[in-house]
């Protein structure tokens, strides 16, 4: 029996469907990633899963217990780290931890020890008695995660926990998640960074416009695009026209222009590269750099949606 089972999850705001029938499951000790761009519906889906948002349809079962907004028992199994810094800025780290711990029903002597333990894990022991408003962004992020760990959850749910942090903090956050997963915690992790999903997750679900487009291990997902390479060109000039012309080339599967860059999918890129560069130049654009990559999740995303993950 999976630890988390999500079926037919659906939510719309007014006429806009934010989450459109999402199904997936997470096994014990598995790390599952939801990879998708801004506005894909990741936060909306997660909010329904942790029971802070009413759903229009669907079901969420955690460790055999159905969960909705009014559930109390099932919520005790989950540790939730929201995308925003949901912290009392006028309180210290220790006070924030203690408060949420008590809402999780922790108390007594174990509470104090647990707070110290968490402070150690998130590396805030030395500054535990400072107000959060004096923290750097990275420190606040780590505290945000620490609160989600207080209740030793069976399932840890993190919503883009590395947004807006420096590379060093980001790395330490990723390491923490890896370690927790290694200790047997199941993790649901959303991100729009392909590298994070590739590094952390046993399985990844690719989400766009409220729908799960594909799901599987990295290898399975990459297999979907076959032996296709991803070519990224930094370029200037009429990129739109260049893309139009590129799409007419045989073998070019997809082409996309973004902020002074063109991305395309093409099998065996190296043999096609001269013609690609010619086409771009002919369209009146000047190529500065070219990068050819083996297929990765970004390639998969482009393949599935025709869009770059980040735009």
């Amino acid at each position: 029996m999976p630890l988390l089972e999500v079926t037919g999850l659906r939510k719309s705001y007014g006429g806009h469907v934010a989450v459109d029938g999402v199904d997936f499951h997470i096994g014990e000790a598995e790390t599952y990633g939801l990879l998708g761009p801004n506005g894909a519906g990741k936060t909306t889906a997660i909010s329904m899963i942790v029971g802070i948002l009413d759903r229009d349809a669907g079901e969420v079962v955690v460790d055999g217990q159905p969960l909705d907004v009014t559930s109390v028992k099932a919520k005790a199994l989950i540790g939730y780290v929201p995308q925003e810094l949901a912290l009392y800025r006028d309180l210290t780290a220790r006070e924030n931890l203690r408060f949420f711990a008590r809402l999780y029903g922790l108390g007594g002597g174990g509470l104090k020890a647990r707070i110290e333990e968490i402070l150690g894990i998130i590396g805030l022991t030395d500054r535990a008695d400072e107000k959060v408003e004096q923290y750097s962004g990275g420190m606040a992020r780590r505290l945000n995660i620490g609160i989600g760990l207080m209740n030793r959850p069976k399932l840890l749910i993190l919503d883009e926990p590395t947004v807006g942090v420096d590379p060093q903090s980001r790395n330490s956050i990723l390491e923490s998640v890896q370690r927790l997963a290694g200790e047997g915690m199941a993790v649901l992790y959303t991100t729009h960074y392909m590298e994070e999903a590739e590094r952390l997750c046993d399985r990844v679900g690719i989400i766009d416009q409220g729908r799960l487009r594909a799901e599987g291990t990295r290898r399975e997902l990459v297999g979907l695009v076959g032996e296709t390479d991803r070519v990224t060109m930094r370029a200037e000039g009429d990129l739109a026209r260049a893309v139009e012309d590129l799409e007419k080339l045989p073998d070019v599967r997809r082409a996309e222009s973004g902020d002074s860059q063109i991305e395309l999918l093409v099998p065996d890129a190296r043999t096609h590269l001269p013609r690609i560069l010619e086409t771009v130049a002919a369209a009146g654009a000047a190529v500065r750099t070219v990068e050819v990559r083996e297929p990765d999740l970004e390639t998969v995303f482009l393949h599935l949606t025709g869009k770059a993950l980040r735009d």
Binding site: I52, A76, P82, E84, L87, D90, F100, L103
Partner: protein, 385 residues
């Protein structure tokens, strides 16, 4: 239990911010002080005095009139000056001693002392009671002295000294009202504005809970609380408990402080406290409803001010409810303030107890019973929708 955890956290956060300490402690004391000024319990009554042409007997009367600690005699030059001072409320009463006072007294002629007050000034009643007891007491002494002089046993002045030493207890004049009066005896008209003021203030304080509620919702903290195994009811109850306690604490502080320092009457303490508690809960419920409707604390604070003052005015806490037209009185009873006002009137003016204000308490409890669950429901909906 979790209600308490959340409530206490709110209190902790409230006291961490120094400006809130001002709001919680200093403002109630300002209120007490304000009430003190209004009731004048701590201020001396001022009595304008003119006449007597500097005669020693007139001087004695002036001294006698100044013989109460909270009465200050203000000598004046003319009767007109006294009248103007009374009219403008600079003095609560004016005493006019005829210029022939000494001579008439010694000659045993009838003397008329005139006492002027503003007819609608309740504090003047109190001074009047004093004047009406001080003057006859002096008259008794003078009568004794004159009796001695007439009998030929002493001179007038010697007789006066003897009479003075004899310390006749004198006659205290008691003014009583027959039947049931709108205002009890010796009752300052201003004392009427203390309970309404308290209602107005308590309600406003409770309404400000809306600001904190909007803030915790915006920061995602509320959502995070809902992600813990805590019921929606506990969260909402806890979130408002802090403010509720503050409103109650402030209310009781104002009641006690103004009662002790300025003799403001609040009636039966238990009934007053229960009234205040239910009233704060209504405010807290209204705060929750408001908080669920707004996306910014600024909008919430504006509506809190408008509602707090608007409902207060409509409910008769600014202009007394009794002065409203019958239609307006009916309208007023759609606000909790009118019921609170009525209840306090019963407690304060007529010495009622909790049993006498049951209808009003019932109405107030009904307000709370609707607003609190509605607020809790709306709050949950604002987060989980």
């Amino acid at each position: 239990m979790k209600i308490l955890v959340i409530g206490l956290l709110n209190l902790r956060r409230l006291f961490r911010d120094r400006s809130n300490i001002f709001f919680v402690i200093v403002v109630p004391f300002l209120m007490i002080f304000m009430m003190g000024l209004m009731f004048g319990g701590g201020q001396p009554h001022r009595l304008g005095l003119v006449g007597g042409d500097g005669g020693p007997l007139a001087g004695r009367l002036a001294t006698a009139l100044a013989g109460r600690e909270d009465v200050e005699v203000v000598p004046m030059a003319t009767e007109d000056e006294v009248r103007t001072a009374v009219e403008r409320g600079r003095v609560q009463g004016g005493v006019v001693i005829p210029s022939t006072y000494d001579a008439d007294q010694r000659a045993g002629r009838q003397v008329q002392i005139r006492y002027m007050i503003r007819s609608n000034d309740m504090r003047a009643l109190d001074v009047g009671t004093w004047v009406r007891s001080a003057v006859p007491r002096e008259a008794a002494l003078l009568r004794a002295a004159r009796f001695g002089a007439a009998e030929g046993t002493t001179t007038f002045d010697q007789g006066l000294q003897v009479a003075q030493r004899a310390q006749v207890p004198g006659v205290e004049v008691q003014v009583t009202t027959a039947g049931r009066s709108v205002f009890p005896e010796g009752f300052s008209q201003f004392a009427l504005s203390a309970p309404p003021l308290l209602l107005l203030y308590t309600f406003l304080t409770s309404l400000t809970a809306a600001i904190g509620l909007v803030e915790t919702r915006l920061t995602g903290i509320s959502a995070r609380m809902y992600a813990t195994p805590t019921t929606a009811w506990s969260i909402v109850a806890g979130e408002t408990m802090g403010r509720l306690l503050i409103a109650l604490f402030q209310g009781l502080l104002i009641m006690l402080g103004s009662g002790l320092l300025f003799q403001v009457r609040w009636g039966d303490p238990l009934a007053a406290a229960v009234l205040l508690a239910v009233f704060s809960m209504i405010g807290a419920g209204a705060a929750m409803v408001m908080a669920s409707l707004f996306r910014t604390p600024g909008a919430a604070i504006s509506l809190a001010a408008i509602l707090g003052i608007g409902l207060g005015a409509l409910g008769g806490t600014m202009v007394p409810l009794e002065t409203f037209s019958p239609t307006m009185q009916t309208v007023a009873h759609f606000t909790p303030h009118a019921w609170g006002y009525e209840a306090f009137v019963t407690l304060v003016r007529h010495g009622g107890g909790i049993a006498d204000v049951l209808p009003q308490l019932g109405a107030l409890t009904a307000f709370a019973a609707v607003l609190l669950p509605l607020g809790a429901w709306l709050q949950r909906r604002a987060i989980t929708r």
